[in-house]
Symmetry: C2
Subunit: 341 residues, 2 copies
Amino acid sequence: MKKGHQVTMKEIAKKLGVSVSTISRALKDSPELHPETKRKIVEMAKEMNYQPNLLAQSLRISRTKTLGVIVPEITSHFFASCISGIQDHANKRGYNVMICQSNESIDQEIANIKTLVASQVDALLISLSRETNHYEHLYELYSREIPFVLFDRVQEDIPVSKITFNDAGGAYQVTHHLLEMGCRRIVYVSGPEDLYISKKRKEGYLKALAEYGIAEESDLIKISDLTEQDNVRVAKEIMEMKTKPDGVFCMIDPVAVDVLTYWKSKGVKVPEEFALAGFTNNPTAAVVEPPLTTVSQPGYEMGKLAVSHLLDQLDGLASDDPISIVLDTTLVPRKSSQKTI
Amino acid sequence: MKKGHQVTMKEIAKKLGVSVSTISRALKDSPELHPETKRKIVEMAKEMNYQPNLLAQSLRISRTKTLGVIVPEITSHFFASCISGIQDHANKRGYNVMICQSNESIDQEIANIKTLVASQVDALLISLSRETNHYEHLYELYSREIPFVLFDRVQEDIPVSKITFNDAGGAYQVTHHLLEMGCRRIVYVSGPEDLYISKKRKEGYLKALAEYGIAEESDLIKISDLTEQDNVRVAKEIMEMKTKPDGVFCMIDPVAVDVLTYWKSKGVKVPEEFALAGFTNNPTAAVVEPPLTTVSQPGYEMGKLAVSHLLDQLDGLASDDPISIVLDTTLVPRKSSQKTI
DNA sequence: CTGTTAGCGCATTCAG
DNA sequence: CTGAATGCGCTAACAG
């Protein structure tokens, strides 16, 4: 199967007996041109259904007006929202977007960057994979002076702009809420410990505990690799602890949902036996029974801010100095944490 | 902010004192080349961190090895899965992907097509917006001989390949299941009537009824515009009907979830008063209480098949004659329909 | 085996 | 106001 022919400037030039440069000028509404010839050209272009070849144009001006986006997973509702925000606002400013997913693999992430760079994207928006534990590929982008920003899953040391949520703040909100609901032995179910969000959310958790004069207790910190299987293992461990906890804060909603589902199958009552809370406000959080207390992170907003800042830098509307944008989260209290004291 | 310099063939040619064509040949491993010079060039390219400029390459060979994808909504889990399948398998065959969302708007859909065509994508994969009720833009693609396939939200008359689910079959499965559970007055909650899936799923619904000797009853067919508000209106209407139905089949899961949520707030029992079923097997379907009976549509698989067929056509491995691929759905029976007879 | 030449489609000097 | 010439980075046909 092969593509049909596309009309070029050359052809419309021949048809009108003028030069290609005149066509070029007419189509970009250059002022130094006889209005009449301009009119004729524009008309003919429309009639012939001329579509500019962005490839040629980009090659010539060495700018593609295209941004590359790399996310760990498109099927995650949060990242899909980010993409949506990025795309809408990039389009609004005349930019296109190429999206890749790393599938949480650092090798794929590196490959994605390579492809996008080869495609000459003007800049990149990257959210790091879970696996990403070294950063040469990012430093290389930096040294090659290819503009990029990091969002949500960031690495703190790289001198580029970063857009994150106030993860510590959100975790503080949830933990504080659980404490207010009367919980005093609160488990934190963390993801892998080297993850940025695992650390940040733990910070907030500990800070809230400290305010209530409660010391960190290593038994109460559980690590899951975030697979369903491991989430269930943790759920089981918690319900079998000798000194029972009274509240559980899971680092992300899916963990909380897995825990809840397992507990329901075992007859464990939420919130009566354990108050439960998650993080992110996934669509599922609202519909489980009981509805899950969580913290909302507006992904669309994050995408919008990330792309707006990046384009401001590209267009010289903002300084190139890296900045850090921290978005606030909102506590979404639901039934899963409504312990009657 | 501006991008740094990228190494070109010219530069490495100068450095090695050979011509650009030799570089080009070496880098694509042409056989007619002295192994030693080839080795030198490859080495130097690596040392200088050469990255080919895909733009120039594409312009030259007039093929971008890029596919355009248009979906109504990236944030829908189903379409995100499709995208994931498309991307993985496109990459596997050396193609990149540019994704756009129409936000269910025909104008946006047309704009997306225009952008992707201007970007010289080799082909398109399109799932139509809800609003799309005329098809000139598709016929234009067709007449311009730009290869494309339609998936999931298709238009039947256009002579291109289409990948769909057996929507009628899936609706038949659900309705048949409800009948087996003892339901005899089953409501079908449809989306807007001109939607392809509204029609197809109605077909399956009616076929199952017919097999049980039950005639179509217009009172039992409700139309929602698929907003939460309208879904709630329908839910209310159903519970207030004088002759109460005993089962409800909603065209898509989100409608069923809205109905369920509303009914729960009103103390209506599912499945006791109404057996309930949806369609698509969204993540939410599994976690609502009671879990929702539905029909699974593997989106990843659909994306994979769509892109595989399209690339087969592009690469001449499949005939250009349009075909129709129909994927089967699977009934996922859950508690929401377990009426004890 | 390698260099020269031409050109993909377009934008932009430089001359008229 | 408009045309001719040049080149973005790369590939490919044609010579040698």
